[in-house]
């Protein structure tokens, strides 16, 4: 079930859009992006950053509430940042998205233990840690499926929870990648400072 691609459910009043941005891997870039969203009053639903297969390029997945702002306008604003290499709104194209959650639930009774096991069978989720008091459930799926599981776990008793935020990728050959090669002159310096701490 995990590899199935589902279309996320979108309601009128809460339209979400997903943007993917390739940015230069430099200190301070995340701050520039956060500052832009704050200044332009765009609401971030979730934002994730991670390295890519090119060490000098990081990739961000940004989910925005687009009832307030047109995602293309947000993309145009992101592109204006000098350190942003490429931006796409991918929620308008077929794509795969994943949100990972770790949910600690009470398993201090046979009923609760059975209930959690049963839920993990129905959802693309699994128990990754278990003891007499609590268990940790892991799920990596589309955001709405993660949310459904959380709702079903809630009555059993959620003790603690953490989520990574959505990461996403367009399907097929619409590859989003950067041709950009790192500047040849860049070299690590003796005192350990970055090329420039922008």
């Amino acid at each position: 079930m995990t590899d199935q691609v589902l279309t996320p459910v979108q309601t009128e009043e809460h339209q979400k859009h997903t943007l993917v941005a390739l940015v230069e891997n430099k200190p301070g870039v995340l701050n520039r992006i956060a500052s832009l969203f704050r200044r332009r009053n765009f609401n971030i639903d979730s934002l994730t950053v991670g390295r890519t297969h090119r060490p000098h390029v990081s990739r961000m997945t940004i989910v925005v509430d687009s009832t307030q702002a047109n995602p293309n306008l947000i993309a145009a604003n992101l592109l204006k940042l000098v350190n942003v290499i490429e931006v796409r709104v991918i929620s308008t194209q077929p794509h795969v998205s994943r949100d990972l959650a770790l949910i600690k639930v009470r398993t201090d009774s046979p009923e609760s233990r059975n209930h959690v096991t049963e839920l993990c069978d129905r959802y693309p989720a699994r128990i990754v840690d278990i003891g007499p008091e609590v268990a940790i459930v892991e799920i990596a799926s589309q955001e709405d499926i993660v949310e459904n599981l959380i709702e079903e776990l809630r009555p059993i008793g959620i003790v603690e929870m953490v989520r990574t935020g959505v990461v996403a990728m367009g399907r097929g050959i619409r590859i989003q990648d950067s041709e950009y090669e790192p500047p040849t002159k860049a070299k690590p310096t003796t005192n350990g400072y970055q090329r420039f701490s922008v």
Binding site: L79, K80, I85
Partner: protein
């Protein structure tokens, strides 16, 4: 060649063609100040407050189209630049600011005069850098100038720790040091966009062009004029668009917006096609967005894609360099005329003429409008005027028509009081052969009047016209209209401006009657170096027309015709 970081900064400035920089020294930037002694080709102007330095760099940039340079020390020196950076950011003016920072090892320790300057200036710069490796310095400065002047121009700040300025390296100037993978300065129009624009222009009956600052920054004045003449389209200017097309051209209707020409605003509201060129639909230009140009199709051409559909939803948005896009359009635009439309506009213009204060009998009173219009007359409409912010600024926009690009310099987007005098000094450094007038109010002048000392020290030949109404005039006008004449915190006790000026060694003259204006211009021109004229104008004058903030653009408060009662 072995150079210190400070010398590398100077070397790079030289390569960028910098001839003058405006700044103020302090501990963290001292190595660079010392290096300046070895680079006498670059003239350093000592300001009296770093805000003055950033406005001077801005005035220089706007007058020349080249990058202006400001330099300051860490902490308070850098924070004093902020108003000037924000001003330049709002009006897309290319400046590079260089600031000293505490040594790398001290960053983050709340060291003496440490401020997170890249953090503070992040939202008011196009880009900024903290240089933490001397090897990077030359690349960063090259990029800073490139970013500042290309695409939609803007301010760039480079923060350089003191130990980076002191570090010595073997230096080779990187001939092509720009490494900006994500930076795309400008695009072209796509073929279908060009075709759509041509089609819309062809079918329009009541078209109007809205020309902004982008026309001048993009050097598209000839293309604008050609479009207007070929397709018979009248042109409305934004405040910063003044000079985009000669204002004595019959197709130019003057300024649009809150204090714009009534004919312009009516024409916008009744048009069936708006062609917005290098402007950004500021709220001071549109009034109420819900009722803005309701019957018009809208074409928006701007270099900044994020401006398209930001304030006004358009039918055709083209993000690209305005000159390139206009050059794509022009050969395919059909020759047209819109005599009925132009006749309708002429009616509005005639009505406005009747209301014009210059055609009223105002007795003994000396009015701001008269001062500005006479300054225009006696300077043959050829001066570079640099204004401050307030009533006098709007009067200059209304009563000083400009024929050439980049001859009207003003803080539009941010509306920064205190801009006028320092920006005029900067403009004069950039265009030394032009006559430069700073036109300022008594309020704004006092915000940066310390720069009188800079003007005197450098013997800069600027003429300062203070329109002294004893009030924060524009705020008083709002109080009169919208706060039942409660003039709180707007009457001003003022110094004797002429004596003050003389204390700086700047010759001064006071004008109280209209018949002295010609003499005052002759006086200011006769002084080699700065001169000041104080015009004691009517205290409670009003700038008409006025679109109250947020009101519909056509709902202007108009000046009554002679004999009519004032409508408020």
């Amino acid at each position: 060649m072995e150079l210190t970081g400070a010398e590398i900064i100077m070397e790079c400035l030289l390569r960028e063609g910098v001839e003058v920089m405006f700044g103020y020294p302090g501990g963290a930037i001292l190595p660079t100040y010392d290096a300046m002694t070895r680079y006498p080709q670059i003239h350093h102007v000592l300001v009296r407050h770093e805000q003055g330095a950033s406005h001077m760099a801005d005035g220089y940039a706007r007058a020349t189209g080249r990058v202006g340079v400001a330099i300051a020390t860490s902490g308070p020196g850098a924070t004093n630049l902020v108003t000037g950076l924000a001003t330049a950011m709002m009006d897309s003016s290319p400046i590079v600011a260089i600031t000293g920072q505490v040594a790398r090892g001290a960053i983050g320790s709340d060291a003496f005069q440490e401020t997170d300057v890249t953090g503070v200036t992040l939202p008011v710069t196009k880009h900024n850098y903290l240089v933490s490796d001397v090897e990077e310095l030359a690349y960063v400065i090259q990029e800073a100038f490139y970013i500042a002047r290309t695409g939609r121009p803007g301010p760039v700040l480079v923060d350089v720790p003191k130990d980076v300025q002191n570090e010595k390296i073997e230096f080779v100037y990187p001939e092509n040091g720009i490494r900006l993978p994500g930076y795309r300065p400008a695009e072209q129009a796509a073929e279908d966009q060009v075709a759509a624009a041509i089609e819309m222009i062809k079918h329009a009956q009541r078209p109007i062009i809205l020309a902004g600052h982008g026309i001048m920054m993009g050097r598209a004045t000839n293309e604008l004029r050609e479009l207007s003449e070929k397709a018979g389209i009248p042109v409305a200017l934004t405040l910063l668009g003044k000079g985009a097309m000669p204002e004595n051209h019959p197709m130019v209707l003057g300024m649009m917006g809150m204090h714009g020409a009534a004919a312009c605003n009516y024409a916008i509201q009744e048009s069936d096609l708006l062609i917005a060129l290098g402007m950004r639909f500021d709220d001071r230009v549109t009034g109420n967005l819900k009722t803005y140009a309701p019957g018009a199709h809208k074409i928006h051409i701007d270099i900044d894609p994020s401006e398209i559909n930001k304030n006004v939803k358009v039918d055709l948005g083209i993000s690209g360099d305005v000159r390139t896009v206009l050059a794509q359009l022009l050969p395919r635009v059909e020759v047209q005329q819109h005599p009925d439309w132009i006749a309708r506009i002429r009616d509005w213009q005639e009505d406005a003429d009747e209301r014009d204060i210059l055609h009223h009998n105002t007795g003994e009173h000396l009015l701001g409008a008269q001062v500005i219009n006479d300054l225009w007359r006696f300077t043959n409409g050829e001066a570079i005027t640099v204004t401050d912010v307030g009533q006098h600024q709007m009067l200059e926009a209304q009563y000083y028509p400009h024929q050439r690009p980049a001859t009207m310099i003003t803080s539009g987007g941010l509306g920064t009081m205190g801009f006028g005098l320092p920006a005029a000094i900067g403009a004069k450094f950039g265009r030394p052969n032009e006559e430069v007038w700073a036109i300022v109010g008594d309020g704004g002048f006092q915000m940066t009047m310390a720069e009188m000392a800079t003007a005197a020290q450098e013997n800069v030949d600027v003429n300062i016209a203070i329109l002294n109404n004893g009030f924060l005039g524009m705020v008083r006008q709002w109080q009169e209209f919208f706060y039942e004449e409660r003039y709180h915190a707007t009457p001003m006790f003022n110094p004797d401006f002429c004596k003050l000026s003389e204390a700086f060694g700047i010759p001064a003259m006071r004008v109280t009657h209209r018949n002295q204006i010609e003499e005052s211009v002759a006086f200011a021109r006769s002084v080699k170096g700065p001169a000041l004229v104080e015009y004691a104008i009517e205290k409670e004058d009003i700038v008409y027309p006025m679109v109250p903030a947020g009101a519909d653009l056509h709902n202007m408060i108009r000046r009554p015709k002679p004999g009519e009662v004032i409508q408020k």
